[in-house]
Each structure stands twice: as structure tokens, then as C-alpha cells.
């Protein structure tokens, strides 16, 4: 109970001003590290101000000062109370070669679900085109895929000029940004309890199945593999990882069989979904480079056997990386 508000304010005011100044200083420079003495002082000032707020709250006749102290205590509280573990310095090499594959394996069930949904979509797309090839115009979003595969192969193989000459980098940048955008959406749709992620993966599978069956029925298996494998063996798993991160998020939201609160579950998966998002981002950068600089060049510029071998080597390396890297 404060008996004399004016005197109380006079005594405490210098401490509040000091705390305000210290918090302003922390606000101004993110990278400044406080000394042990400053941290101790910050803690003391916070405790003192919080105590003043508690005492002042019983004295309802001074709302402005209470309001001021609330804002000060709120700022100091955030600085004095750690949020889970303390932040660790980010090491990109360690993150990519150890944290990412470990996180991938930790949530392997979500990845298997991504694969299953994509395969279901592929089977659906395959079935639809096999039953009615005119459905291509409904299913496939890209106009360049609507024509005859045989005609396209003939055109590509007889091309005398490089159609991407002078715009390979631009094309590569467009592929990267577009694929990352779609993958981010696939991940973010995990917030719809995974429903949006399911639709995205299934639809992606439908397109894949429709394209594959179109080329296979036209007898262009070699072209299809040479065209898709170099970038597809990275791009498709990247989208599956995006789906995986979406399902990890959805799983934390739904929380089947979990006793912890939704907030606690989300807090615990945030670093993992972020790692998976970063991982698929890196994979899609590589896929974008390969698609622009390798996949678009066909026989006789690049032999199919070479392209298929390149794709298989990438797939082997990716599988080894995701299954073995970071193991202790």
C-alpha cells in the first residue's frame, strides 16, 4: 500500500528512467551484447519496477503512471525472460549438412505421407489421360505441354539454334522463384490443418502423372527421362519436403494423442519447419540452375544417356545425403 504517491513516485522515478534508457539502448542495437554487470542491473531494475507496478496497482488513483509502468515492465519482461532455449549462432554449413538431414529423418513419417499423396495424384493423372487424352487441356497448366510429345521431341532434336541463348540466367531465376513460391505455399497451407498441403501435393502428382503417361504412350520414354531426371530428382523431392514441413505444422496444430497445449506443440516444431523450409529452398535453387542449363538441352547437344546418368547420380547423392548425413 502506498501512503504517499508523490513521494513514492519521486523515489522510484530515477530507477524507471534508468530502465527505460537501458531498454532503449537494447532496442537501438540488436548486436550489442550487455556486460554481466549491465544484465544484473537490468534484472534488478526490472524487479524493482515490477514491484512498483504491483504496489501502484492497488492505488487506482494514478492511471497514467500505472500505464507507463505496464509498458516499461512489458518491455523489460521480454528482455529478462528467455523464450525456451537461448538463441544459438547460425552456422550455415552445419545447418545444411547436419541439422537439415537430421530434421528430415526426424519427421520421416510426414515425408512418407507427402510421397503417398503425390503418388496417388500421379496415379490419378495417369489414369485420366490414359482414359481420355483430351483431358490434357484441363489437367495441365502449361501450354507447352499440351502439344504432341512426338512433335516436340522432333523439334527439340532438330533445333539449330539455342532457344535459351542470352536468357538462361533469367529462365533459371524464374524457375527458382516460381518453384520456391509454390513450395512455400504448400508448406504454409499446413496451417489449414494440412488440407491445403494435401491438395497441392495431389495436384502436383496429377500433373506429373499426366505428363509421364503422355510421353510414355507416345514412345518417348528416353526423352522424358532425359528431360525430367536432371532437375526433377531434386525438384520433386524438394516439393515433397515442402509438403513434409506443411504436415509437421498441421500435426502440431491438430495434436492427435498429444497432451501438451497447441501453443507448446507449435513452439516445439517451429525450428524444424523452418529448417525444412530452408532445405527445400536450397534444393530448388539447385534444381532451377540444372533445369535451365542442363534439362532444356537434348540430343544431339547433350546425349540422353548422359542426362539420365547425371540425374541418377544426383538422386543417389540426395538419397545418401538425406538418409546418412549428420548421423553420429
Amino acid at each position: 500500500m502506498i501512503l504517499d504517491l508523490a513521494r513514492f513516485l519521486n523515489t522510484e522515478r530515477p530507477y524507471w528512467e534508468e530502465l527505460n534508457e537501458l531498454l532503449d539502448r537494447i532496442d537501438r542495437d540488436r548486436f550489442e551484447r550487455l556486460t554481466l554487470q549491465q544484465v544484473t542491473r537490468l534484472e534488478y531494475l526490472y524487479q524493482r519496477t515490477a514491484s512498483a507496478l504491483a504496489r501502484l496497482s492497488t492505488f487506482s488513483a494514478e492511471p497514467k503512471t500505472t500505464e507507463f509502468l505496464e509498458s516499461l515492465v512489458a518491455r523489460a519482461y521480454a528482455e529478462c525472460h528467455p523464450n525456451r532455449v537461448a538463441s544459438q549462432r547460425f552456422h550455415p554449413i552445419h545447418w545444411f549438412f547436419k541439422t537439415f538431414p537430421r530434421t528430415f529423418r526426424k519427421h520421416s513419417r510426414a515425408f512418407v505421407l507427402s510421397v503417398a499423396l503425390t503418388l496417388a495424384g500421379t496415379a490419378f493423372g495417369w489414369g485420366v489421360i490414359a482414359a481420355d487424352s483430351s483431358a490434357k487441356s484441363v489437367i495441365l497448366p502449361f501450354s507447352q505441354l499440351l502439344g504432341s510429345p512426338t512433335e516436340r521431341v522432333k523439334q527439340e532434336e532438330s533445333a539449330k539454334t539455342d532457344r535459351l541463348s542470352g536468357k538462361k540466367q533469367t529462365f533459371s531465376a524464374q524457375l527458382m522463384t516460381n518453384n520456391i513460391r509454390v513450395s512455400l505455399l504448400t508448406f504454409a497451407l499446413g496451417a489449414t490443418w494440412g488440407l491445403g498441403t494435401v491438395i497441392m501435393l495431389f495436384y502436383n502428382g496429377v500433373i506429373l502423372g499426366a505428363v509421364a503417361v503422355d510421353y510414355i504412350y507416345a514412345g518417348q520414354i528416353q526423352f522424358l527421362l532425359g528431360w525430367l531426371l536432371p532437375h526433377g530428382v531434386i525438384e520433386i523431392p524438394a516439393i515433397l519436403v515442402a509438403g513434409q514441413s506443411g504436415f509437421v505444422l498441421a500435426s502440431a496444430l491438430i495434436g492427435w494423442g498429444e497432451s501438451s497445449t497447441k501453443r507448446a506443440r507449435l513452439r516445439s516444431v517451429l525450428p524444424d519447419v523452418l529448417t525444412l523450409a530452408g532445405g527445400f529452398g536450397v534444393m530448388l535453387v539447385w534444381a532451377g540452375i540444372v533445369e535451365a542449363f542442363v534439362s532444356q538441352y537434348h540430343y544431339p547437344v547433350l546425349p540422353y544417356s548422359w542426362k539420365i546418368a547425371f540425374g541418377l547420380v544426383e538422386l543417389t547423392l540426395l538419397t545418401t545425403f538425406l538418409s546418412r548425413a549428420g548421423k553420429v
Binding site: 504517499d4 504517491l5 540488436r30 515492465v73 528467455p82 540466367q169 531465376a173
Partner: protein, 263 residues
């Protein structure tokens, strides 16, 4: 932690309660517009840099522009909110700040995830999903905030009121000569009335004389309605003096008033 319509109230382990006032949808939308303008400005700088590269390779220029814009759009919120403790330029202009929903220190993963979730919040255009979520949720959170467990608060830089400016104890306070009535007044006075009296006294010089008389007459009547002091005590007191004396009783203790009047 509880959420009132416009604030999140947090109780610390020490038992202290404080409120974080939530930012409204209009303030957040205005902050977003400022941020979009800032992104456009950074983008125009990027284009100028890319134009230099374009002199050597137009292909590289286009690639740098595409990748640069993409990086700016994705990274703008993440970088600023991390460096500026939950603020972007738009949020700073409007005194908004992203906070952990429990009032704790904001983590880098929370900042990154809430910004990456813009992919869904911005659907189907003009942040319709995010805007609707802010309007409909108790803590005014868009989907990114819900996933990252963050809130956006209105953080006004409040100044500490200076009670000494009023010189409340400069003259003898006749109301204190009836201690039991003074104590009753102190007990019955409401925060709103104290605030009104305090602000009116602070701004007395800004008021026209007839307005000033009317304001203090109304205030004094409200104080008189709380406790009736004997006429011989209040005789000769102007309304303003009455309000000043009542405020002194509200804000200072009997012992210190007694001490001051003897000096």
C-alpha cells in the same frame, strides 16, 4: 495469460500483471502499405544496381532483378523484425511491434515463420485471409501469428507523468483540516476523476477564461458530490482551488501533507 477485446494481459511468475494493447486491423494495414512502399523503394535501388550489371550482360541483369525482388519480398519482414526487435519501418512509424504472445523474447524462428506464412495470409490477394483472421480472432492474429505464437501490439512511448509540475502542496489545503472527510474523499475518488482533474490543471493556461471557469465548476461539483465538506471550510475557495485541494488529498498522504504544511 488472458485476452481482453483489445489487450493481452500477462501475469508474470512474480505475480505482476501487465497488459499488451493489441494493434487493430487499420493500423496494421497502414503499416503494411508503408512497408510495401519501402519494398518498392528498395526495389528501385536494386534496379539501378542491376542496370550497371546490364551494361555487361542483360541476361544477368534480368536474373539479378528477379532474384533480388524475390529476396526483398521474402526477407524484408524477417530481417527488419529481427534487427529492430519485432518492428519493420511501417510498424515503427505506427508504433506497432511484434511480440511473443506470452510476452517473452521474440525468437528468430518465430519471426521467420510468421513472415513465411504470408504465402497463405496474402491469399487470394490484398491480404484477405490474413485481414479476416485479424478481424475474427480474439488476439487479432493472422495465420502467421497463430502459427508462430506472436501478436502485434500497439506500443506507444508513454511519458511518465510529472505530478510535481502541479505544485499541489504550494498553499494551505483547507480540506485537510477535516481529516475524516479528507480520508473519505480519498477513498471514494475514482481514477477517471483524478485523471480529469490532473489533465485540467495541467492545461488550465490553454483554456479560454469562461471555458476554464465552466470546466472547474463541473469538476468541483463532482468532487463535492463525493464528500460534503462543511461550508466554513470551503467558503472562499474557488472551484479551481477546490479541485486542486481535492487532487492533493487523492495523491498524497495525510502525514506528508501535515509535514509540508508545517514547513
Amino acid at each position: 495469460m488472458t485476452a481482453t477485446p483489445n489487450a493481452v494481459v500477462i501475469e508474470t511468475p512474480e505475480g505482476v500483471r501487465f497488459a499488451l494493447p493489441l494493434a487493430g486491423v487499420v493500423a496494421r494495414f497502414l503499416a503494411l502499405i508503408i512497408d510495401l512502399l519501402a519494398i518498392a523503394t528498395i526495389g528501385s535501388v536494386l534496379e539501378k544496381i542491376a542496370a550497371v550489371i546490364g551494361a555487361v550482360s542483360p541476361d544477368s541483369m534480368a536474373a539479378v532483378t528477379i532474384l533480388g525482388y524475390f529476396a526483398i519480398i521474402i526477407g524484408y519482414g524477417i530481417v527488419f523484425e529481427w534487427i529492430w526487435h519485432g518492428q519493420t519501418p511501417g510498424k515503427r512509424v505506427l508504433s506497432l511491434r511484434v511480440m511473443d504472445a506470452n510476452g517473452l523474447k521474440l525468437q528468430a524462428s518465430q519471426i521467420a515463420v510468421r513472415n513465411l506464412m504470408r504465402a497463405i495470409d496474402s491469399l487470394p490477394g490484398s491480404y484477405l485471409v490474413g485481414g479476416m483472421a485479424v478481424l475474427l480472432t480474439k488476439r487479432h492474429q493472422r495465420l502467421g501469428d497463430m502459427v508462430a505464437n506472436t501478436i502485434v501490439i500497439q506500443q506507444h512511448r508513454l511519458a511518465l507523468p510529472d505530478l510535481m509540475r502541479l505544485n499541489l502542496d504550494e498553499k494551505f489545503n483547507s480540506l485537510t483540516s477535516v481529516p475524516h472527510l479528507a480520508a473519505r474523499l480519498r477513498q471514494q475518488i475514482t481514477p477517471d476523476l483524478v485523471e480529469l482533474a490532473y489533465q485540467s490543471l495541467l492545461r488550465r493556461d490553454e483554456l479560454e477564461s469562461d471555458v476554464k471557469l465552466e470546466v472547474f465548476r463541473l469538476l468541483a461539483d463532482r468532487f463535492r458530490a463525493l464528500v460534503k465538506f462543511p461550508d466554513e471550510i470551503t467558503a472562499g475557495l474557488t472551484d479551481e482551488r477546490y479541485v486542486r485541494n481535492a487532487l492533493q488529498i487523492a495523491l498524497t498522504s495525510a502525514s506528508s501533507r501535515a509535514l509540508r504544511t508545517t514547513h
